[in-house]
Symmetry: C2
Subunit: 565 residues, 2 copies
């Protein structure tokens, strides 16, 4: 007898389960229930409709129910909400949300892939207004787009600096809208540490977005929003993208166990505590293989892989469950940002002993016109040297670097492995010593104590406390902008000017990208200077950090000029 | 007492040794001898001067002797050829090539990094003419450029379809020159298998280069060259880039042992058989960790890593020597091509049992305007499923995919590891199931016998032998071009048209990119059809293969129309 497989949810996880079951079993009866009007749409591409990079909202729908039926013999039912499950009878109760009609269907196996819901805090006054929208599905994005055009909206407040908020911000900006981006934390994009997020902050500010951090949305009015700090921000439309919570209402109702993070608890085969019920995607709690703790991850790639694994398990196949490490990327105006694994904040929270390097090599050979600086932050475990995470930001292929590191992390790679890694090189694509080889080498030197470093974020305090800072760039570079009071001893002169360098106190060395200062720091270390610190990220990193402090938080400038664009 | 380190050769390997020694030992006396006029120039960027992508020839020189002296306290001597070594006395004999003067210098450690020489076969009549050039260094490229401008050259023959030949071809084309590219083998770019090279052939032909393969250069005349097959090719200038041989004349002279490949034999610490003499770079024989055989590799990245390792060994540091896998990339007009590890030809030559998959997924989500097909060929070991190599070609980020595979190969990754790999995803950068995840899944299905495949290169024979070919694309796609006599049974109809599919003979299924045909092949397998073959690479792959056959070799067309641009 053919197997009856029912699936709750028809997007990344659900559609993947359906297609995989079909490939494994041509005879299975597969039905997918989606309460919205579309199955298999590209959530991730929703914001790109606002700028018409994706020209039609229909383009966002990858497969219609007719295609599922014809090509895969899968029954995709839209406007169909599963409102109850009777596990003992192996039945679901389905409601047609258009007609209100309900009916029951039997299953042999049931898959939960209901996704997650946008958080819309009732505590915010005005959150229920008609000009306030989440971004969850095709109807949402169409409603936003229509509202903008029907009401000639000129100013939008986007609340939340995560992936959705950022992409909506950029696409609205491209559509000619003045956007304010409001983020309650002191930085956007939590996968990045603050020093890296500062680079993103600058890019956003440079593109005429009104960026507000460390301030929450407090009230929504008809033509403006008010922040917790009392700032009034003009906005005829508000998009709330402050996060999502797993959609677990039905799961809870029928006794499916939840995990400590609030997601559906699954075993290593993606089975829930109820027999014959599986769960995958944004609604579940997943295992982070790096922190060795349960976590949540709302990404399409893992949802698809979980779906495939769950389907495989249903057919008795052995599956791998490696947990997850979390890899993602985002374009923010001219910058590409990508990350994988753990950042500093996550290491600290998980109590993992780590260190890191931050360097800014060229993403390709400097004489090639398309070459650009690439900010690379590599986080590694101490004392093993195992690679834990990477954050890469630049105009070039940051995603390539995060993907390579994702592979290295997954395979248990160390800094020694990374320094030897043979990556593709031609002057257009990279440098002979790839930025990642370079990062590993510097990291090994840090771990081996061959030089000491301080963070860019510490430089202001060092300056304010009268720290002795040496700028080893050439005089013409120094003249174009430098840290106030920094002593200019160019790399080409330092061996002749050793007597100017104090031995009785800490000396902080920097150049443009920390490469020359690293060489100087190592030489000084061998020349009897024991208290030399290389400034990680160097002048470029410092500028990015201070820029934001200065421009947005109105703190005192310590750089005399910004010439890092 | 400070250590005296002498280095023969001042480019990738030599300059890296020098810089590394300085970091390890501020007191060392380091001298680098280069017989040419420049140290530390970018070999790899030489061709880009011809199109002025690199505007000035001076830009190709990364560091001048003065900078080495000032910044690193390194003595870089140009026009200085080491003509002899006296190992027992720890001395080298140096000749100033401008004055003819010779002198001796003592060393504690000596590094050979002499590089490789272009092959200029004396057997070719006219090879010594003044309008025939190799491309090895800055003076070469300047001479070529001057000759072109002084003589108003309009037609150039580039001989050799390797990296240098290809890059010279492209840059000359951009400079408005009509280029003929002559390659003796039946394909250009040996790191690629022929099915993948066909894609590159098409790109070259489409860019108005006269591509001649399977035909060698026989004679060079004043205004043309003559091939072995008697073809006359207009050319007022000839560039010979048919390969390089390790520069081992000095090494041989002083009794340094060579390996079976003709390169200098080194131990795992890059030491030669003579005490205190190291060798690195293009001149040495390296160990291929995949074939477990000695090999040669003329790439800048490995040269730099070897240099660092050799310097480290000299200072008593433990070094890793993982051998090499060979990763490289090249831009050919609008295409990016990247490869790592072994291709089919190399597996066959080494007697390694392998299989492969060739698929053409989108490099990013199809609805994003920048999305393009990415040709991915993944080679894996049978029966272990260990990943052996990858070739990726497309307008998008092929290099990213090769780099990720390089990491997986290096870490001993299998198809199971690759299918689970969490790579960065946003619609602009990739697909939720990355092309590499996808390749691993298909490869596992091949290895597990869940479907059978034939190569695109076999399709002509299948066609000519009257094989039964089913095209499962939709009728509108079929109408735009298809294999003659292929039966159109769209994926949306095949379940209703099973009686049209023969059970008594082999059936070959394809669609556009092999994704739909893969699903159909699996379903048919479950529906009692035991002799179904998916055509690897599918219609796009077939077109690329046949295109070249048709256009260049003038064989009968079997596709009615080309619509794959």
């Amino acid at each position: 007898m053919s197997k009856r497989v029912l699936i709750i949810g028809g997007v990344a996880g659900g559609a993947s389960v359906a297609a995989r079951v079909r490939r494994l079993d041509e005879q299975a009866e597969v039905t997918m229930f989606e309460r919205g009007p579309y199955v298999s749409f590209s959530n991730c591409a929703l914001p790109f409709f606002l700028s018409r990079m994706v020209p039609q909202s229909d383009d966002l729908v990858l497969m219609c129910p007719e295609q599922f039926a014809k090509q895969y013999n899968i029954n995709a039912k839209v406007h169909s909400e599963v409102i109850d499950v009777k596990p003992n009878e192996h039945k679901v109760v389905v409601k047609n949300v258009l007609t209100g009609e309900t009916y029951e269907e039997e299953y042999d196996k049931l898959f939960f892939s209901p996704g997650a819901n946008p958080i819309m805090p009732k505590s915010i006054k005005g959150i229920d207004s008609k000009h306030v929208f989440p971004v969850r599905n095709v109807p949402d994005i169409v409603k936003i787009d229509n509202y903008i055009h029907d009401n000639k909206v000129t100013d939008v407040a986007v609340v939340g600096g995560g992936f959705i908020g950022i992409e909506v911000m950029e696409n609205l900006t491209h559509a000619g809208i003045k956007v304010s981006l409001i983020e309650a934390a002191d930085q956007i994009m939590t996968p990045y540490d603050k020093d890296m997020a500062q680079i993103l902050h600058k890019e956003i500010i440079d593109n005429n977005v009104d960026l507000i951090v460390s301030d929450a949305l407090a009230e929504i009015k008809e033509d403006c929003v008010i922040t917790a700090n009392g700032k009034k921000v003009k906005a005829q439309l508000v998009i709330v993208a402050i996060g999502v919570v797993p959609e677990v209402s039905l799961a809870k109702k029928i006794g499916i166990e939840l995990g400590q993070t609030g997601g559906i608890k699954v075993d290593h085969n993606f089975r829930t505590n109820i027999k014959d019920i599986y769960a995958v995607g944004d609604a579940i709690e997943y295992y982070c293989s790096l922190t060795r703790r349960p976590s949540r991850l709302t990404l399409a790639g893992p949802a698809q892989r979980q779906a495939r694994s769950a389907a495989d398990n249903m057919y008795g196949r052995t599956i791998q469950n490696k947990g997850g490490i979390g890899s993602s990327c985002v374009k923010i105006f001219e910058l590409n940002a990508a990350n994988t694994g753990l950042n500093e904040k996550q290491c600290l929270a998980a109590g993992i002993k780590y260190d890191y390097v931050y360097l800014i090599p060229g993403d390709s050979v400097g004489i090639i016109p398309s070459s650009n600086p690439l900010h690379v932050k590599l986080v590694f475990e101490v004392p093993t040297g195992k690679i834990l995470g990477c954050q890469a930001i630049g105009k070039g292929n940051a995603d390539k670097r995060a993907d390579v590191i994702a592979a290295m992390i997954t395979m248990g790679g160390t800094l020694d492995d990374l320094k030897e890694l043979e990556l593709c090189y031609s002057p257009i694509f990279s440098t002979a010593k790839d930025p990642l080889n370079h990062a590993a080498l510097v990291a090994l030197n840090v771990m081996n104590g061959e030089f000491k470093q301080v963070k860019v974020s510490e430089v202001r305090d060092i300056y304010e406390n009268g720290g002795y800072i040496i700028d080893v760039r050439e005089p013409n570079e120094y003249a174009q902008g430098h840290i106030k009071n920094a002593v200019n001893i160019p790399m080409s002169q330092f061996r002749q000017r050793l007597d100017e360098i104090p031995k009785d106190k800490a000396v902080y060395v920097h150049c443009r990208s920390a490469q020359r200062s690293y060489n100087v720091a190592r030489a000084l270390g061998q020349l009897g200077f024991d208290n030399i610190y290389n400034i990680s990220g160097s002048y470029m990193g410092i500028c990015y950090n201070q820029y934001f402090e200065d421009v947005t938080l109105k703190r005192t400038k310590i750089v005399t000029e910004y010439n890092f664009k």
